[in-house]
Structure formats: C-alpha cells, structure tokens
C-alpha cells in the first residue's frame, strides 16, 4: 500500500479529517475580518481590547455557526461583536464609566444654519482626524454611525445588532452624525483648516 493511500485512509478517519465546518467558517470570516477588527477597534479605541473582542466574537460565532441563517455573514458577525461589546460596555456602565448621552431620542440637524460649509470642512480632513473625531462620539451613537456609514448595515441589522428598536437606531444615527460633524468642525478650527467667520 502506498504512502498516498495510507494518507488517504488517515484523512478519511474521524480523528484526522479537517472539519468542513471550520473550512467554511474560516473562508467566510477571513473575507470580513478587516471590517470586524476595524469595528472592534473603533468601538473600543484600544488595539489590545479590540483584538480580544474580535477574537471572542470569532470564537462565539464559530460555536454558533450552525445557527447562521446563510444571509448576510458580515452583518451576523458584526451583530455578535456589537452584542459582546455592548455587554462589556454595560458592565463598565454599571461600574460608573459611561460616555453615552441621556436623551438619545433628541434629533438635531447635522448641518445647522451658520455652520462651516461642508466642502471646506471635509476636504481638509485626513483619516486620523476623522477617526479621532469619531472616537469622541459617545458609544451608542458611535456604534450606530459605524455600523451604518462604515460597514453599510441596514437599520434592521443595526437594530438587531444593538438590541434596540429601529426608531432608536434612526435617532441615534441622526444624533451621532450631528455630534460627529461638530467634532470635525471643532477639530478643523483647532487645526486652523477653517476660521470662525467661514
């Protein structure tokens, strides 16, 4: 019997066969992992914490892979990651650390009258500044903005990921974008990209 035949027999046995489930899961996860890790990093704003969060999300997802409905894998993974983050965030909130705003149903215009024209503001920004401004948006609003504008999830998917009604997602998005724009404007003023009278 040749070596190839022996290997074939070994590969065919239960102990030596590479799991098809893991193969499929790894293929799918590898494609969306930069998004997953990016979201984790933008939520936690700490590389080590983001790495732990992303790994935990991958493990949880692998264990629950049989329950994946086969529709949108990225949304499903982001849902697991966001849920994990929210649970941790809630623990921190209980411990008295919170950066969320109380009245999240208050919508405000993103571009109120008399503010800097958008083109002047946005054209001068670079990636690090945008990330910095995004990091200053309170967690709940940042999560909604990230999932919608960076990762392209639908309102329904964001509602599932964050365990809130769609109405809350809508108001969080509006509020989050308004805060983000203010932060970007403030940053541009500090850096001298724009002047107050612009």
């Amino acid at each position: 019997m040749g070596i190839a035949a022996t290997k074939g027999i070994l590969a065919g046995t239960m102990l030596f066969r590479r799991d098809a489930k893991r193969d499929r899961f790894e293929r799918l996860t590898e494609q969306i992992f930069p998004s997953l890790f990016g979201t984790a990093l933008r939520l936690t704003r700490d590389r080590e914490e983001a790495s732990d969060l992303a790994q935990e999300a991958v493990i949880r997802a692998y264990e629950a892979f049989e329950r994946f409905d086969g529709r949108n894998f990225k949304a499903w993974m982001l849902r697991i990651l966001t849920n994990l983050y929210i649970n941790k965030y809630r623990q921190r909130k209980r411990a008295g650390i919170s950066d969320s705003l109380e009245d999240e149903h208050t919508a405000e215009p993103v571009a109120p009258e008399g503010t800097t024209p958008d083109r002047i503001l946005f054209d001068n920004l670079v990636g690090a500044e945008v990330e910095e401004a995004l990091g200053r948006v309170p967690t709940d609003f940042r999560t909604a903005v990230l999932l919608s504008d960076v990762e392209g999830l639908t309102y329904e998917e964001i509602a599932e990921a964050t365990n809130v009604p769609i109405g809350t997602v809508r108001s969080r998005l509006a509020r989050g974008r308004a805060i983000l724009r203010k932060e970007l404007e403030q940053y541009a003023l500090e850096q001298g990209y724009i002047r107050k009278e612009q």
Binding site: R22, L41, A111
Partner: protein, 225 residues
C-alpha cells in the same frame, strides 16, 4: 424632528417610496433640508473614505490558532464519545493480552537459583497426593520429609525436603521450563546448588555438599522412569 429623520432615511436608502417622494418635495421647498441631506451624504462619504481597513494579520492568525484548538478538542471529544465502548473494550482486551503474555512468559522462564532462599509462603502438601514427580515411588532410598508448594511470579514451585545417608537436601521443581538461564552450578548463601532441566521441568537441588555430589543426585533423578 421626523422630517430630519426622514432625510437621514433617504440618505441611507431606508425610506419607502412615499416617504422618499415626500422628502424630495420638502427638500425642494426647504433649502435647509437639502443642505442637511448633502451634509449627511458627505459624512457618509467621508467615513467610508477615511475609515480604512486596519492591519489585523496577527489577530486573524490568533483567531485561526484558537479555531484550530477548538476543532482539535471537538474532534477528540467527538471521537471519544462516539467510540467510547470500543475504546473501553480495546483497553480491556489489551490488559487481558498483557496479563496473558506476562503469565506465559513467566511460566516458561526458569527459576534463578539465587531466588531460592527468598522464596516464601510454601504451604505443606499431603505427601501421598502431591508427589507429582514420583520421588517417593522411585527414589525409595531417600527419605521424603515433606512436600511444599508455592507460587513465584505466577509459577508453581514445589519443594521436596529429603534426607539421605549424607544428610538433608532440598529439591526445588518448577514445571514447564525448557531451558535454563545462567550457570548450572551455583553457590547461594553458603550452600551449593545445581540446576538442570529434565522432561520439561527445572530442578534445583540445594545442599551443604560439593557440586559433584549434587550432580549425582541429579543423575539419580534423571534416571527415574
């Protein structure tokens, strides 16, 4: 407030047809709403353009390692739970085989004469029924004083306490031995002993005599029918 939220919904492609139409009309009437819509689109573009992918090879590699560990553990757990009865059965069979092999190996191995003084636990036997080798019958010139039996490493060992004109001597017999390991003539604790194999059994004769006399005893025994 609702109008603003509808503008966001339109920018996000989440508004249904009637809402979208109503918002479009409202934006034509209200430049502030149009400006809001443009601003939302610019924020979305900015975020998509600036929030680039993050270097994550190390974390992905760590994830793969953890997945491999989980898979290995799942495979072993699955294999053990699926074949638990077979594994237990194989283990029992293995133990039985090992026992039988050890037993058969020990049984065919000869007794080392140096072991003789350390053999303990001899039980006296009734000399009329236990004289398997016929010493009483064929060697009537020797006086048989007692027959004892014990087990050494799972093997039966008989001891015959004899007396002849020269004094006492002992014969140890171990059945099922075909060859002897080591020398035939030995001295153990000040006594000479002579060991040999005859008719599938090992004999050791021990006495305070020289080896030539012990050999004569051996020849006498070998001469038995």
């Amino acid at each position: 407030m609702s109008e603003f939220l509808d503008v966001h919904a339109l920018a996000d492609n989440e508004a249904d047809a009637s809402t979208a139409k109503a918002v479009e009309e409202a934006m034509q009437r209200n430049p502030q709403l149009r400006s809001e819509f443009d601003s939302i689109l610019l924020i979305k573009q900015t975020l998509q353009g600036h929030c680039k992918g993050v270097h994550c090879e190390e974390t992905w590699s760590a994830c793969q390692d953890r997945l491999a560990q989980i898979e290995r553990s799942d495979r072993v757990t699955g294999f053990v739970s699926k074949y638990s009865w077979q594994l237990c059965g194989s283990f029992v069979v293995l133990v039985l085989f090992a026992g039988l092999w050890t037993r058969s190996t020990n049984q065919s191995r000869s007794l080392d004469p140096s072991q003789v003084p350390t053999i303990a636990g001899f039980s006296p036997m009734s000399s009329s029924t236990a004289d398997e080798f016929g010493f009483r019958k064929y060697l009537s010139e020797w006086q048989l004083q007692g027959i004892f039996r014990t087990n050494v490493d799972g093997r039966a060992v008989w001891r015959y306490d004899m007396v002849d004109g020269r004094g006492p001597f002992q014969i140890f017999v171990t059945p099922n031995v075909n060859h002897i390991e080591g020398a035939c003539r030995r001295e153990v604790q000040g006594l000479n002993c002579y060991s040999w194999v005859h008719k599938g059994a090992q004999f050791i004769v021990v006495a305070d005599r020289d080896h030539a006399e012990l050999e004569q005893i051996a020849q006498r025994i070998n001469g038995m029918p």
